[in-house]
Subunit: 643 residues, 2 copies
């Protein structure tokens, strides 16, 4: 069943590629399928239970007149219900299920009952009897509306029904009547409404929604969001089309940018798109962790200054990486540049997967790259407490749920010329008359075999992303043998080198059974940071394929502290396949040393330290970063100082 995924550009949109409908893509195996399975069977049911227990749903029941009491939880409590609804809607699209639909319908009916006559819907504000929009810098009223709209769009796309869309349209019509040029000029402190309104425009054809989204993008960055934090926090210091970087609260910044990219696509605004390219480039080069993590400051959950990327205090909120994927996907469609697909891979496999346990029901809010020896678990978001089932500010869990539920929407795209494969998973992709299946053990192994199952007449291009790290990648085209012909003979090719950092494209008249085999060189590599990142100076990180690796305390020799370890960059890194560990992984071993500090020596209060004593040889053991803290949350580090 082909239904549109999270982004559906209109026919007039200025994009070079269009998403393959989410329902036309299937992930049939590998670690992402396992994640999706647990998301569906464990996380989403547990999430609904948490929304009841944390009283988010109770608030709506009170607003609907079906219960009594005070509003409970943060002012944006409704948004977590909406994100859960979006996840459930995508999940229904992945596989129809009556009980899932019953939950969707019941919550939709509750939302409709809680909605005010004029379309306004925000249970906490309604129950507090606050003046609407009087505290929009922190009230999250547009933010809640945005998440409701996104849920409704997903619901419409996967069920073909309109109940939730009707609620969302009444909300959106109320916003259109209330905000915009010559009406209330206020902006919500937390973007997301921009993306939501463009998608609602796409779903309904109602131009007013796009116009309002454009208004919100155009008027932001003029220091009008006052009364709370400094304007930089809200991405309100520099107009969107003048900004050259991202700043402030990282989730807000990337949600805004993703919404601006939607506006640029639907209005054909090349200037805005160019500004967003500049901003993305600045983010990726100066303000992003190797894990794809975004936001280096706990204070304000914010982007730092250029190259301010402390590992121990990385914030790298799970939601920020999710927003980063949303932004990158829109940039990929608009520009066709492989770097954005590389970015999605980096964020997905490291910054997002790290945010949720293999079981699917425990979450990190903060995805640090370094937990120090002797850390104090001083905060409910401190990674030293391990992943937890829910948060007082529970934005991340349902955000993970909706991401896994809509993951098929980010795998592939099409244009008039053919199909582009961006992410490699075992599965099947339909793109019009072209149907392909993919076999791979990615990300553990680098062979990606694409088989054509059906093909249109005439030439069609199939493009495979060659990641930027994949020096030495090769591609073979193996036509299905004609009757009586050996496969791969006359018209096929031997392995041909393909350049990393782009797409390898084969254009031909495909026949069922034709195959493409991409070989990516998945082997350990050492990665160097920009020398302006002080926290990484004198260190290297270990990567293998798309995965960043980390040293966890549990894997090192007894009595050896994580922060005393040193890496020998000249040593060979060996691989060990461990099917028994963490769902089946490749463990890496590296040559290194341990520096044994004599902390019992008299203190040197004048801060001048001797060089370290000679390191004793030791073998370092590294596991994929995103799986750390599954065996206790003990000290860990990604960037390893050199011997």
């Amino acid at each position: 069943m082909a239904y549109a995924g999270p982004v559906r550009p209109t026919d007039n949109a200025a994009v070079v590629w269009r998403p393959v409908p989410a329902g036309a893509a299937r992930i049939t195996g590998g670690p992402l399928a396992a994640r999706q399975r647990n998301n569906r069977t464990a996380a989403i049911p547990a999430g609904l239970k948490q929304l009841h227990e944390a009283k988010n749903i109770h608030n709506l029941e009170v607003a609907a007149g079906r219960a009594s009491g005070e509003p409970i939880g943060p002012i944006f409590a409704d948004s977590d219900v909406h994100k859960w609804l979006e996840a459930a809607a995508w999940e229904y699209g992945r596989e129809a299920d009556e009980s899932l639909l019953d939950d969707l319908l019941a919550l939709t009916e509750l939302l409709a009952a809680a909605q005010a006559e004029d379309g306004y819907l925000d249970s906490v504000v309604q129950l507090r009897h606050d003046e609407r929009y009087s505290e929009l810098h922190m009230s999250h009223e547009h933010y809640c509306a945005g998440h409701l709209i996104q849920a409704a769009v997903a619901y419409s796309r996967t069920t073909g029904r309109t109940e939730l869309l009707d609620v969302a349209r009444r909300v959106a019509d109320h916003l259109v009547a209330t905000f915009g040029p010559d009406r209330n000029p206020a902006l919500d402190g937390h973007p997301v409404i921009e993306m939501a309104l463009v998608e609602l425009y796409r779903e309904t054809g109602e131009r007013a929604y796009l116009d309002l989204a454009k208004h919100f993008v155009d008027t932001r960055g003029r220091a009008t969001i006052t009364g709370g934090r400094e304007v930089a926090y809200y991405s309100d210091r520099v107009p969107v089309r003048e900004a050259t970087t991202v700043e402030g609260h990282s989730v807000r910044a990337v949600y805004l940018a993703a919404g601006a990219a939607d506006v640029a696509a639907e209005t054909g605004d090349a200037e805005l798109l160019a500004a967003l390219e500049t901003q993305y480039d600045s983010m990726a080069r100066q303000k992003q962790y190797i894990t794809g993590g975004l936001g280096s400051r706990w204070d304000g959950e914010a982007f730092g200054d250029p190259y301010e990327l402390p590992n121990d205090r990385a914030y790298a909120e799970t939601c920020a990486a999710i927003g980063g994927v949303q932004w990158a996907w829109r940039m990929l469609l608009a520009t066709g540049k492989a770097s954005y697909a590389d970015q999605i891979e980096r964020m997905l496999y490291n910054g997002i997967l790290s945010g949720v346990s293999l079981a699917g029901t425990e979450y990190f809010y903060v995805n640090t790259l370094h937990l120090r020896d002797g850390f104090t678990p001083d905060h409910d978001r401190n990674p030293g407490r391990g992943r937890v089932g829910w948060f007082a500010c529970a934005c991340c869990p349902p955000n993970v749920m909706r991401t896994f539920s809509s993951l098929e929407g980010y795998l592939a795209s099409t244009d008039a010329d053919g199909l582009q494969l961006h992410q490699y998973v075992p599965g099947r992709i339909e793109a019009g008359e072209l149907e392909v299946s993919v076999e791979t053990e990615y990300p553990w192994q680098g062979t990606i075999a694409v088989t054509v199952d059906a093909a249109p007449a005439g030439e069609t291009a199939i493009s495979l992303r060659v990641p930027e790290w994949a020096d030495g990648a090769t591609l073979r085209t193996i036509p299905q043998a004609e009757p009586g012909e050996a496969q791969g003979s006359s018209t096929g090719s031997g392995p041909e080198a393909v350049a990393p950092g782009g797409y390898a494209t084969v254009r031909r008249s495909w026949r069922p059974g034709d195959r493409l085999v991409l070989e990516l060189p998945i082997k350990p590599r050492l990665t160097r940071a920009d020398s302006r990142v002080d926290a990484d100076r004198g260190c290297l990180a270990i990567e293998r394929g798309p995965l960043v690796y980390a040293l966890e305390q549990v894997d090192q020799p007894d009595g050896v502290k994580i922060d005393d370890l040193r890496l020998d960059p000249t040593g060979e890194i060996t691989e060990e396949v461990r099917p028994d560990l963490l769902g089946g992984i490749v463990v890496l071993h590296a040559r290194g040393g341990v520096v044994r500090h004599d902390d019992s020596a008299p203190p040197r209060h004048d801060h001048d330290h001797q060089p370290d004593p000679a390191a004793e040889p030791v073998e370092l053991t590294a596991v994929p970063y995103h799986l750390w803290a599954h065996r206790g949350a003990e000290p860990m580090r990604v960037w390893i100082p050199l011997l």
Copy 2:
């Protein structure tokens, strides 16, 4: 005129040294005298104006029934008035002035009028009609009381009058009647009351004040401060005598520790003192910047984990360094260990002086060690905005004022054996029958000449601190010539080597005119950080004497960015005396290079960077860190990456 300074141990206190009365010490020249002069003539008058404009005094007027209106400002608004009062009181002791006394009396009379019948006094809580102590985790009611008591003790010591002490005693008696064993067990989220109550006990002899301070110290660290942040923030996670390090909000932590040191001294509690030594050692080795700055996190204004010392996001609040001096001074008196005097010097000359402009009227709240190229000035405390006249949370300015006004109290101490000089300034010290004067151009030059002006009969010891950095220090004893004898002949000594990190002591029967000449080797030196400080890896810092140096943008060659500079550690560092610059300083020049990054090159989104291009030779210019941002707040750094 000899009056007691900020700490006056009782005769029974378990201390090895006792402070020289503040009024018996004089700073007669040098940079600290200039600071004191501007503090008195500019900062203190401007501070009173700010307290009127920010409405702190207005709140008290309303509480006194002399004005009407709502309370304005933070809940701890009274405390800034109290700290100003303390500064003015010490200032009155330094030099009596009728208009200063008039201001003191007028504010005292206002406080008395605002005070409730039962002694309670907190204008904001009174005006809000909050239930007293119902929100003690954040209401700062004990904190305000503590600062009031500290002001009253200063007032009593310098004026010999009781008006303000009477107000404070009524506050303290109310606290004694309300809190303690078998009464209200609650603790204030922000310590300071502990120090204050011990000092009030010292001033009045009322044992109940000491008992209540001991109760607050003994019951802290049992996770009873709930309803706000995590308990670590409040130093309430681990009992004070079990803690092995400092954690949480740095000002709170060091104020608590200083108060605990007072309790330990007055109760003879060796176990508590030992715990505080362990905590101080952990702080100095693992959680303190080279500038003496304390607190590495903006979030929670807190200490970080061990060796978590980012330079760009150093918080290093001015108040925290002030609290650090208060704690170190108490530890010095209790233990006689020179390292605590070294600590005071480091914090004073770097972490505190940096917090206030040479003019005295502009302040840093946050004393960063690194302002990055391309920083966003995103917060009213962001050092990129430069020092400012006042803050919404104005704790630092009056804290600086009271520190300068009481600075003489931290210079010297005595015991039965004689006199100890801890800090070197041109000035005079009286210690009973022993009177000495000091001539020096410290911290610019290392010659410290101590002349005996009067001496008791019999042998007396004079001890001079030899800082831990002062390898190669020497001491000469030069007796006054007998009539007809050449000075320094028979009984004197040539220069003798003295060991750094302790005290050089000369015991003899002193005669007026006898001299001691200490030569400290003040020359540039390169300092290495503990290798576990990730932010400093591959870097060195430049120090000279007690001063930490920094590279400021304004002093580097045109077109060279701070973060592109590299230091050649093998190069000679040369000195340039600049009487014309920043009040007269020694500028340092070092050999180095500049790495010119090609930021226009295509982005490498996969995060793997090439080694830097070869550095071009360049001369680096460094100025004393504490004077940075007097010529604009442009990029700056203390720790310099090596070539």
